[in-house]
């Protein structure tokens, strides 16, 4: 199919899976084996009673590729549900990052001031460093990181996107 002429889209897909050994490897292997992109991937157990985990994956591709990704995910045996949150409308998408900034004097004060503007929390402080915790949309997190880079960022860890549809309906 002339997929090259189609536009590349970014989609956030939520997948409910059995929390069993190898399930994440299956999902990741599907992406690597078929040449799909993973921009972000998060996974954690959400229902200990039924032993279910929820995977949130952000991926890019042509509409045909995105459709393939969903179909391929759906046919994995331990997969219960696949939902394309992007297709279903504006989803709530949040990301958490820990940002360590090292420095003294004005730069330190400026970092703290900006953290306040971005509503980032200080979770560790020394006389010459801060660790900030920021939660927000990927763009907000990215903006904050961009600013901190100029103020002495020494370490960064991002949790990846978690997402949920808006409105009263459950998964």
């Amino acid at each position: 199919m002339s997929s090259t002429t189609e536009s590349i889209e970014k989609h956030t897909i939520a997948v409910l899976v059995d929390n069993e050994p190898g399930v994440l490897a299956r999902v990741i292997g599907l992406f690597s084996g078929r040449g799909y992109n993973i921009e972000s991937l998060t996974v954690a157990e959400v229902d200990p009673d039924q032993s279910l985990s929820r995977i949130t994956v952000v991926t890019t591709g042509t509409p045909m590729i995105i459709e393939q990704i969903k179909a391929q995910l759906s046919r994995l045996v331990p997969v219960h549900r696949v939902r394309d949150l992007t297709e279903e409308g504006r989803a709530v998408e949040r990301e958490l990052a820990l940002v360590k900034v090292s420095g003294t004097g004005d730069r330190r004060i400026e970092a703290l001031r900006l953290a306040d503007v971005f509503k980032a929390r200080v979770v560790d402080a020394t006389l010459n460093s801060f660790v900030f915790e920021i939660t927000g949309s990927s763009d907000e997190v990215q903006d904050f990181i961009g600013l901190m880079r100029q103020l002495g960022l020494v370490e960064l860890c991002r949790a990846g996107v978690v997402a949920m549809s808006r409105g009263p309906a459950g998964f």
Binding site: G22, M64, Q68, A71, S74, R75
Partner: protein, 581 residues
Amino acid sequence: MTGAEIVLRALRDQGVDVVFGYPGGAVLPIYDALFQQNAIRHVLVRHEQGAVHAAEGYARSTGKVGVVLVTSGPGATNAVTGLTDALMDSIPVVCLTGQVPTHLIGNDAFQEADTTGITRPCTKHNYLVKDVDRLARVMHEAFVVAKSGRPGPVVIDIPKDVQFASGPYVGPTEVRHKSYRPQVKADLARVEEAVELMAAARRPIFYTGGGIINSGPLASKLLTQFVRMTGYPCTNTLMGLGGLPASDSHFLGMLGMHGTYEANLAMYHCDVMINIGARFDDRVTGKLSEFSPNSKKIHVDIDPSSINKNVRVDVPIIGDAAHVLEDMIRIWRAKHKRPDPKTLRDWWAQIETWRKRDCLRYTRSETIIKPQFAIERLRDLIRDRDYYITTEVGQHQMWAAQFIPFEAPNRWLTSGGLGTMGYGLPAAIGCQLAHPEALVIDVAGEASIMMNIQELSTAVQYRAPIKVFILNNQYMGMVRQWQELLHGGRYAESYSEALPDFVKLAEAFGCVGLRATKVAEVDDVIREMINTPKPVVVDMAVDPHENCFPMIPGGKAHYEILLGPEDDVAEATPEEGMVLV
């Protein structure tokens, strides 16, 4: 019950009567349990790849699940090619692999391999059973997964301590998978849409594949009924041969790279395509942007990921082929659909002009055995027999597909998706053991047969009177053909140097060896092969330079099909086509 006993009991409860395997340290408890029972027969292969292909041959010819039992490490890694083959061709196989004891997993123990890791991409699903309490459940679940939906291979990796441990047994009826429910009944609105489209078609064609075979004999029956009811032409993929009786006047032969002229041109020119259980494989479509450009496409498939994977379709229908055909026929009847006879006659008239090109003709010879001639004689001399054909991979495979007719499903066993040389001999053994009275022939090439030649020993041990029909052209024929046509005749490594004497080789294994080197000997050799109630190897010395036509060169469209050596393939192959396999 011990883990090993649970395995045997579960196999029995699943209706398994034969297991193809090879023992080793990590499966000894299961072999011990096998030894102490009589319900399940074990067939000892000579290489684990052979075990999987034999299980495939058994599965494809019976519609049942094929079962494999191998040891850890090399036992499992040797099985990988067979598993991948079964995955590509959607063949239900359950493969039990031994594993080092749980406390040694990850320690690089003797004969340890990460079997579930290695087989994850080449199975439909796999399990590592670390707890004997789960074993019975996993065994039954594996059978459900292997045969339901789009079938495929399932691996169960069982550590040795789990085979020794005691645990509870549960029967198959008590096991239901938590989430795995493939859709078999289609959305009726879609089926109605398809029927409307079909009835209004001016140039319709059925294009059907392995999904018809996998669905079971009922699907073939319904397809035949529907094709005759509509009067529409029908072509089969390599996997789908036998889905419609080859003798049916609506049958256009196989389509694709080496398919018939009429099938490929009808696909190109059709206005409504009814794909049932085929997956728009690259061997079938040729150049995608010029694949049947003016048709509305209906696609029936049990696997949603097959829909819109290669080709955008207009009416996707997710469901099992037999169920969908049943609905289609019912709706067609209820709505009193009748295609316009004049339009359909014109379409058939067009197809007849393509048929008249007689695309499978070849230049006959009095002095050298043409491979097509050998296959034609084979076809004519087995006509009245109850035959099953397996193949290796290459030119001989394509000639067998082109020339040998199949009147029923499950009689044509060939490695389509993966194209595995060495498939045919073990598959023939698996097929023969399921059908002891039938005539099972592996149409082979001299290069392919060497890949699993050791299985002749298996055939002899189990008195499986399979026939290996080698078209010996002293080349990896398809490789040579591509080198001749596309690489300036530079035959890099495609010559079969230092071939064994196949007659003596057959005799050394305890088979019967026959040879034909002259045209006049062909019939006698084939007759003797058929009438010998033992495994036979036929060494048919054929023209080393014959090429397989028709051929759609890589990167070309259906209408650019070449009919014979007079058409210049190199000239016809675009640069971007050269990189395609």
